[in-house]
């Protein structure tokens, strides 16, 4: 199996999907000649031509809105939002339209649409090229939200998203793009939407996380292993719908829960995770539920010391693990 970066795995997934289904097309800013500002769609224009790899005007609402229309006319659009931070002009189309069309039409019309959006920080992107946007979308019935952290998961979940009959927001962590490498099989293989993955088995406490923070949490767990603390690290992979079965089984086993995400603390996905566990696994909980999250400031600032202060690190995660383990 070849080793690919997260970015290459996504590109390979796009390529295979476009080769397999002529209804799949890519629509977004700079996705054509430029191959995307991160080069994810590099090579696709040459291979699939300008009818299927389309540079859009600089207008996110119509990028998503037109893709919704195309999906209703039996195409399989992939909308690219250049940076997740710029998805808000399309918020109305995503929330009011894509996510509600199946329900409001009583199952008559469907929107099989994938929206790709590079998110997250740690790349000197400052307040508007670093944001985590997932919580705002995980609240929305009718929408699925996927955030793979490894090349293997990314390629398979991209395919699963494209095969899904409903709109999927596909989040790609920018810092993972080139940092994270891993084995990726050629061709098709399965990772289901809605299934978490235990990336590290452990018995002393459970960490629920995703994206870049998965890798930081695994690093921290390694450190804790040296201190005889055995941490289970669950990679959520899909943020909506949540895999509550896997989540609850893990917490029931370890009795302690740490939630780690880069997104702002208040109102983040950690809240929902805590609520599920505090309702469903209350009897098995042996300690307060802890969260290590981005602080409640708009996003991470540009200056390096500020950016670093924003991001949870393996060290801050390890500290929280220690507190919880000692409880």
């Amino acid at each position: 199996m070849p080793e690919l970066t997260l970015l290459e795995a996504i590109r390979q997934g796009l390529d295979e999907a476009m080769a397999a289904d002529a209804r799949v097309f890519v629509f977004g800013e700079d996705v054509g000649r430029r191959g995307g500002v991160f080069r994810v769609t590099e090579g696709l224009l040459d291979k699939y031509g300008p009818l299927r790899v389309i540079d859009s005007p600089l207008a996110e609402s119509v990028i998503v809105g037109a893709c919704i229309g195309a999906a209703m006319n039996d195409a399989r659009p992939i909308a690219e939002i250049q940076f997740a931070d710029f998805i808000y002009p399309a918020f109305n189309q995503i929330i009011s339209e894509a996510a509600r069309i199946r329900y409001r039409s009583n199952d008559d019309w469907h929107v099989p649409l994938v929206i790709r959006a590079p998110y997250g920080g740690g790349i000197h992107g400052a307040l508007y090229h670093s944001q985590s946007i997932e919580a705002l979308f995980c609240h929305v019935p009718g929408l699925k939200v996927v955030a793979p952290a490894t090349p293997y998961d990314a390629k398979a979940l991209l395919k699963a998203s494209l095969a899904d009959p409903d709109p999927v927001l596909f989040l790609e962590h920018k810092k993972c793009y080139r940092l994270i490498k891993g084995q990726v099989p050629d061709g098709d293989y399965q990772v289901e939407i809605g299934k978490a993955d235990i990336k590290r088995q452990g018995s002393d406490l459970t960490v629920l996380t995703y994206g870049l923070m998965l890798h930081y949490s695994l690093e921290a767990a390694e450190v804790l292993a040296g201190e005889d603390i055995d941490v289970e690290v669950v990679d959520l992979r899909t943020l909506r719908p949540l895999d509550t079965a896997t989540i609850l089984a893990s917490v029931r086993k370890t009795s302690k829960l740490l939630i780690v995400h880069e997104d702002n603390l208040t109102g983040g996905l950690g809240g929902e995770l805590a609520a599920i566990v505090a309702q469903e696994a209350f009897e098995q909980l042996d300690a307060p539920i802890m969260r290590v999250c981005g602080p409640d400031v708009p996003a991470m600032p540009y200056a390096k010391p500020l950016e670093e202060a924003f991001l949870p690190s393996p060290a801050t995660i390890a500290d929280a693990m220690r507190v919880l383990a000692a409880y």
């Binding site: 999906a71 006319n73 019309w109």
Partner: protein, 335 residues
């Protein structure tokens, strides 16, 4: 480029619209009016909590829809589109099922307010209440059509107030850039609820805006069904030939308050309301048909009775149909 379509047909025997088609147009206009009036009765009697009308827009809609291919072209009408969807194939029963929020309502199973039309088999695309969102959808429908090499058109309608929304701009612009087969029909009735057109734009016409996007802008008298038909037919030809989209502005009349929740006497001078009645597109077309000897009093009365029976049947059918049931609340969030 702004084109003004001849507002008045002088000659019913003009070669492009035959007599049968004219009568068919009138039938749809009268049916839409009769259904619409019945809805208000149902509202006043407490059976329909919400009604929103197409009264005064019938000519614009019937003219346009008759120029499309039923079952092939996509329509994305807005909430005033009753006459549009009738021409595209929805039945009076289907309309009344939505008015009374019945389970069988094909638009939404009673989930949406009435007048939020949708019907996949008829290629009537589901709509929300958020104005303007359907405009990008129409563009996307046409984009997918190009991808597969088909020549179905996407036709969408909206009010003049809605042209203030960013989605109008982004959608029309994209269609023009990609030269897609879309027809944008703005049904300009001078008001957005209480807000007059002068607050929406500092120009005299929505069609004039087309020049800013590089597509033809067509002004048409929206109370003249034949003029509306011709404008759309020409736009459809352009669209199907790959010559790109058209923006049509049909000047309509809003003969009712905005909706059953509105009271337009607080913001519309009563003389205006009275004067408007004179322009009623249904009465106007009836006069033309009579003048041209196509529909005498007796024939008209027969048609009226036939339609009244249809409306009665639709109402009775819908009233007897079961409400959408509480047990279905959670169905179809995902597929």
């Amino acid at each position: 480029m702004t084109i003004t379509v001849q507002a008045r047909v002088q000659n019913a025997a003009s070669h492009d619209v035959d007599q049968a088609m004219m009568l068919e147009m009138y039938r749809y206009m009268l049916l839409a009016r009769a259904l619409d009036e019945r809805m208000w009765l149902l509202n006043r009697s407490g059976k329909a909590p919400f009604v929103i009308s197409c009264q005064g827009h019938e000519a614009a809609q019937v003219g346009a829809a008759m120029a499309l291919q039923q079952g092939k072209d996509f329509t994305l009408p807005y909430y005033r589109g009753l006459a549009t969807v009738l021409v595209m194939g929805m039945t009076p029963r289907e309309i009344m099922l939505a008015v009374l929020a019945r389970a069988e309502d094909p638009s939404s199973g009673g989930r949406q307010m009435p007048a939020h039309y949708g019907h996949r088999k008829l290629k009537i695309v589901t709509q929300s209440s958020v104005v303007g969102t359907q405009i990008p959808h129409a563009v996307g429908v046409a984009l997918a059509e190009r991808l597969r090499g088909g020549d179905a058109l996407a036709w969408t309608s909206f009010g003049e107030g809605t042209t203030s929304q960013g989605d109008f701009h982004e959608g029309v612009n994209l269609a023009a850039v990609m030269k897609l087969g879309v027809i944008f029909q703005c049904e300009n009735n001078d008001y957005a609820i209480s807000v007059p057109m002068s607050v929406q734009m500092a120009v005299a016409s929505v069609a004039d805006r087309a020049a800013a996007y590089g597509l033809p802008g067509v002004k048409v008298d929206g109370t003249d069904v034949l003029a509306c038909y011709r404008a759309t037919r020409d736009a459809a030809e352009r669209g199907r030939a790959g010559d790109g989209p058209t923006l049509i502005e049909a000047r309509c009349l809003r003969l009712t308050p905005h909706s059953s929740d509105d009271n337009d006497r607080t913001y519309r001078p009563s003389e205006e309301l009275k004067a408007m009645r004179e322009g009623d597109p249904v009465a106007r077309f009836r006069l033309l048909l009579r003048e041209q000897g196509l529909l005498d009093e007796a024939a008209h009365e027969q048609l009226r009775l036939r339609i009244a029976a249809q409306v009665d049947d639709a109402t009775a059918y819908a009233e007897a149909a079961p409400m959408a049931g509480a047990g279905t609340l959670l169905d179809h969030v995902y597929g």
